[in-house]
Amino acid sequence: MIERKVTTIDGNEAAAYVAYRINEICTIYPITPSSTMAELADQWASEGIKNIWGSIPLVVEMQHEGGAAGAAHGALQTGALTTTFTASQGLLLMIPNMYKIAGELTSAVFHVAARALATQGLSIFGDHQDVMSVRSTGFCMLASASVQEAHDMALIAQAATLEARVPFIHFFDGFRTSHEINKITLLTEDEMRKIIRDDLVLDHRYRALSPERPFIRGTAQNPDTYFQARETVNPFYAKVPEIVQSVMDKFAEVTGRRYNLFDYFGDPDAERVIIIMGSGADTARETVNYLNNNYSEKLGVLQVRLYQPLSALHFLANLPNSVKSIAVLERTKEPGATGEPMYLEIVNTLVEAQQTTGLRMLPHVIGGRYGLSSKEFTPAMCKAVFDELSKDKPKNHFTVGIIDDVMHTSLNVDTSFVIESDEVVRAMFFGLGADGTVGANKNSIKIIGEDPEFYAQGYFVYDSKKSGSQTVSHLRFGHNPIQSPYLVQSANFIGIHQFNFLDRGDVLSRAAPRAVVLLNTSPHEPEEVWDKIALPIQEEIIAKKLELYGINAEKVSRDNGMGSRINTIMQTCFFAISKVLPRESAIDKIKHSIEKTYSRKGDEVVRKNFIAVDNTLVNLHRIPVPEQATSKRALPAIVPANAPAFVQKVTAMMIAGRGDELPVSALPVDGTYPSATTKWEKRNISNFIPIWEPDICIQCGNCSMVCPHGVIRSKFYHQSSLEKAPSAFKTAPIDARGFPDIRYTLQVYLEDCTGCSLCVEACPVKSKEKASRKAINMALKAPVLEDEQANISFFETLPEVDRGRVDFSTVRGVQFLPPLFEFSGACSGCGETPYVKLLSQLFGDRLLVANATGCSSIYGGNQPTTPWSVNSEGRGPAWSNSLFEDNAEFGLGFRLTSDKHLTYARELLKELSSIDKELVESLLEAEQVTEIDIRRQRDRVTEVKKKLENITDPRAAQLLAIIDHLVRRSIWIVGGDGWAYDIGSSGVDHVLASGRDVNILVMDTEVYSNTGGQMSKATPLGAVAKFAAAGKSVGKKDLALQAISYGNVYVARVALGANPQQTLLAFREAEAYPGTSLILAYSHCIAHGINMQRGLDQQRLAVESGHWPLVRYNPAVRESCENPFVLDSARPKIPLKKYAYNEVRYRVLAHTNPKEAEHLMELGQQAINQRWSIYEEMATSSGAVFQPKFK
């Protein structure tokens, strides 16, 4: 008997587990939500895990998905079994190769965690828009609906492609399946070997290119034969359904798990049937069972597994003859189409069947869309579809799951229809990303899943912020397999891991009557907490008769030396009161798990955790719930009453987690959203904030410069402005001679602060009396909150500093320029955002930003709120994100418009004789270098606009529309290293060569940060990253030298933490340079494995070690025949090690492979020494060694 291993894993791992073992080569590139598959493949290869033929697959990261597909194509053509993993835009980049691979009848499977496409907005979440976009490539499409299926279909697809010679996409729902953790039965190697036929593998090899038996493939064909040749593949496609079915049959024989091309569930005489594929099929199946069993309905669901080619024969054989009406549900959208693709195929199949085989009756078929971008698809929605089908004239082309008040496509859904069984424990946990809630829940699933009597499911929802983010975990436990691919609807256990979440108002909305609620009462004690709860929440607790438990988790955690991570404590409470397992055995299992996790760290750590578990139980209390609500406190407003209407109506709903309730009419039609909305979302995520000490401060501006979140603002003003100042308002005489009446204030926007402490680190002064005290120090927020709120209100009434009076050339001066990038959701202490903020301060009112997809597009443009802001005149950065791969080109397009419209405006100005000649001349000839120049040009433009409004010549209207271009625009192309060094490299290169006046800012974190730390070509030698688990063995690309080689590109390498003044200089020089500029900005990152508070120090050490030499290459200098290359940092004075080993990315290799770490560190040091000598030579050469100036 085969011994089968049961395990709890997510869909990505389930699919990759098989794909890795039945292939020889994986060509990979990270993209959410499929990245994990590639990461695991790379990790397994580095661990030496072998495929079923006993060899370790080769895993190679490419520069983008187009590259991954190209390399896969090449590997396949030369006979290797090759796969790749992708999603969304990545799949779109593979399209050209997919046509080739299919056209050449190549056996291959691409595994796709299906995801939405970037349209009016980007979405990382799941639907079928990506896979539906490639259905014409010739790839067959096999859909999985669950974690187990993702595992099994990966094998079935591979066996089928080898036999059919037609390539396959195996897809499953992004996030819902790719990230759901469920208990599955793993395929054994033996089972895989039984399904994969070696003779077919050999056939694949012998079809390969080989000089031993040469032929050519991939020729160019002419009108005489291309068409016929295109038709040659038809017999292969015709055989696909039978082949797939036969593999499925064989699979059932080997594993006992049966699948079919179409699986029908429900009443054999059903009259109403839903046709669906992907995870929604399981929801439909559950609903059908419930309605048929409880309401004697005659309903059915037909789950589509092999969608392409859709076999009419198998389809008709599985559809009950009794069916009268059909709803084809699709997780995709094709605007302007007469229906979504599967609907059209089903209609076509039925019509053809009637025409050709005499199908008795054509059922009424409607099509509908559901679940775009991971929108929930629940049993209630499923029921709504069945209800619609029972109508005489059911709505076709409907939507379900949203409210469409524009075209009225949506179906009404009765949300009270909940079918969850009480035999299943349904738990929801509201936590912070930082408090370890999700990690603990994953651990709980593992603990319970390991029990052979239990099944477990976990799904996790995260918000859109990278700091202070909230998480909601949805867990189910029961004695039968759990296949409910939707969020918990009615929870019988709710864990609220932060007390202030109660004020959000919606945390109890899914609580079932008499549910158990566990509350972390910190900072209060459980005994006193009832009175602190707002009235509506108290009422909800009483009305639902909830059983309330409380623990001051932070106190227990602190008292037991566990710091601020309350995960073990809350997990223990869950096991103690949820009754999933008997209490004693549950606690034993937790302790066992702790022992497993921490045993390598020593008995002491284990003992400390055990004590924490025991103390948790002592400190967990039932909170008595009175019969009447007693609170005098209402729930606080989501946004203040003075917020703009759109923020009140739309943004606030999204902030409150109620965006699902927004109807279609509420949302902009083209993806356009207002700027400056983060300021309405007071997140209050840090209990500690910086406090300014006016007496110690030297007003240098360093703290304001480095603040990643734009919460430190400075103003100077006449002392008379202080008349109405609140008593707690802090002020100091300005630190400049000759201005006795001028005062200075540094104001901290404490509710927007993330508590990163970079400001304190950057502060250069210390108290004379107490060395620990600086001019800005971290302190508890609560005691000063009220005073500071009043101070901020007053600070905002102080006049903004006149930009004409600001010294743009010093850090001290720049602090007075208000940031037009504020309060973003970036990681606390982010190393990128200070650069973005600086950009907005210096050039914000005439700034256009093209932003590559990545961290910066997420913290810069992820809903619900926008950090890109506006100044007091209503001007501010205009921002857009096109894609990941095309950002340089996208930004160049901004410049082309600007150049064209500038030229056209100049032409029109000259043509329109009615405008004062002198004004025209000054407009055309104006120098726009300083802020004052620009201000004057704006005044001229305003003047001419007024005149144009009164001119009837149609050219005046033309000119009015574009005349703003006469004020010099500052165009910045912004992104990370993944974009600039890898996926967008060719575009960056092309733009650098264009000579156009654009500025490229690369915020180099030396890793793909946004997708979770994968290696890029900027990753340094010796650093560990995903896809470089054994340490990167190739050096970092010197993009600066590459750009310098053009001769006419302004290039700077900067590090704000090492030399803010040089950074500032570089930004200004780049912007002033009338050609292309490139700034490479060192950006410390959470993916480096550093204490983010020490980020600036690491920047300094990066420079001091020579890892990040500061340079500027200014082609403008060539005019005077001077050397354009300046080395701004001193010769390396510390070894690379001293910088590198402060970071986990380097240090971890010293633990996993000390010899290799030492070797790579030595190579790294040599590389630094070599590069430095090249730079020194360049810096000391005459200017003549560089490219001459081109005219």
Binding site: G433, T437, Y462, K465, K466, V605, G1012, K1026, A1087
Partner: protein
């Protein structure tokens, strides 16, 4: 000439031992120490606290920001085989013990009872020939009495002795009120050797940054006086071997220590300053000095200037102080 000596029950070719330092960080260096003539090598210390903190820091930093944002649920590859335990230290100890013929002695600094015991056992299994306890303990808690500090030393020694069959040395610090009594107590508790004295990482101030800088300066020859005093006093009065460390920069200090009563003389600063090969200079210098002064064996020299063997034993006690004041005038001053 017979340079042999016995330390912790081990017969050594001569009394010059490489003391715990970064020099013993690789097998290659330990081999070089042997080739340069070291009669034994004390490995650098295994710091339990460092292991704990490194482990905690790695875990904290590798998990910081994880499970927070849907696109980046973590930032590092799953590292199933990384360990921040004592493995690399023990592997080095094992490899070194197998590579060189001279005894390799492990050095241990624990912070928990289990740490002391477990790591000592592991060192024994890894092939250490002895263990030196590097008890680094600053009693900054004002409620801890001198007696409690002393008890802690004794307790650690007893625990380790009970756990291993290897000889165990204790490296002492010079800040006990009664060093003699402390040495006696450790001797009674079974110490196989006592080493005088440990050098603490003492802080300095950086006046530019207004920060405390923990750093370690290399020793100077001046520093031999305190160990010299106590070696001379304790010689012949304890069962345990005596080790001298601090300030050994030339053969002169070696000779002095031996004459005070040391069984071995340990050096680090001289090697860090002059390179590993300098060890042979010390050994050859000792031999030359002995030759010039007609000594035939180290045994002959050992303790020859100890308190027990000098003309005026009180010279090591209070009179010693007086003598220094007298000599302060200089021979030619009025």
């Amino acid at each position: 000439m017979d340079l042999r000596t016995t330390y912790m029950g081990m017969e050594l070719k001569h009394p010059i031992v490489a003391s715990a330092s970064p020099l013993s960080g690789t097998v290659a260096n330990i081999k070089r120490l042997e080739d340069a003539g070291a009669s034994a090598v004390i490995m650098f210390s295994l710091f339990e606290e460092q292991l704990q903190q490194e482990s905690a820091a790695l875990e904290y930093l590798m998990t910081a920001g994880t499970e927070s944002f849907a696109e980046s649920l973590n930032y590092f590859p799953r590292m199933s085989d990384y360990t921040v335990g004592p493995d690399s230290y023990l592997n080095l100890l094992r490899n070194a013990s197998e590579t060189v013929d001279i005894p390799v002695i492990g050095s241990l600094n624990g912070i928990t009872n289990t740490g002391w015991i477990d790591y000592a056992r592991s060192m024994q299994q890894a092939g250490a020939r002895g263990i030196e306890l590097n008890i680094y303990y600053i009693p900054a808690d004002l409620n801890i009495s001198g007696r409690e500090v002393e008890d802690r030393y004794i307790e650690i020694l007893k625990s380790v002795k009970a756990a291993v069959s290897l000889p165990v040395a204790v490296k002492l610090n010079p800040f006990f009120s009664a060093i003699g009594s402390m040495a006696k107590a450790l001797d009674d508790a079974g110490a196989d050797a006592l080493v005088f004295f440990n050098r603490f990482y003492q802080p300095d101030f950086d006046l530019n940054k207004m920060e405390v800088m923990p750093n370690l300066q290399l020793s100077t020859t001046e520093e031999i006086r305190l160990p010299l005093l106590w070696l001379a006093i304790l010689y012949g009065r304890l069962q345990a071997s005596l080790g001298a460390t601090r300030g050994v920069h030339s053969p002169v200090e070696v000779v002095k220590y031996l004459m005070a009563g040391a069984d071995v003389v340990m050096t680090t600063s001289a090697l860090l300053k002059n390179g590993i090969d300098y060890l042979s200079n010390l050994r050859d210098g000792l031999s030359t000095w002995m030759d010039m002064h007609n000594y035939v064996s180290v045994a002959q020299m050992k303790g020859s200037m100890s308190q027990h063997n000098v003309t005026d034993p009180t010279a090591f006690e209070r009179a010693n102080y007086i003598k220094i004041l007298e000599s302060y005038k200089g021979d030619y001053t009025a």
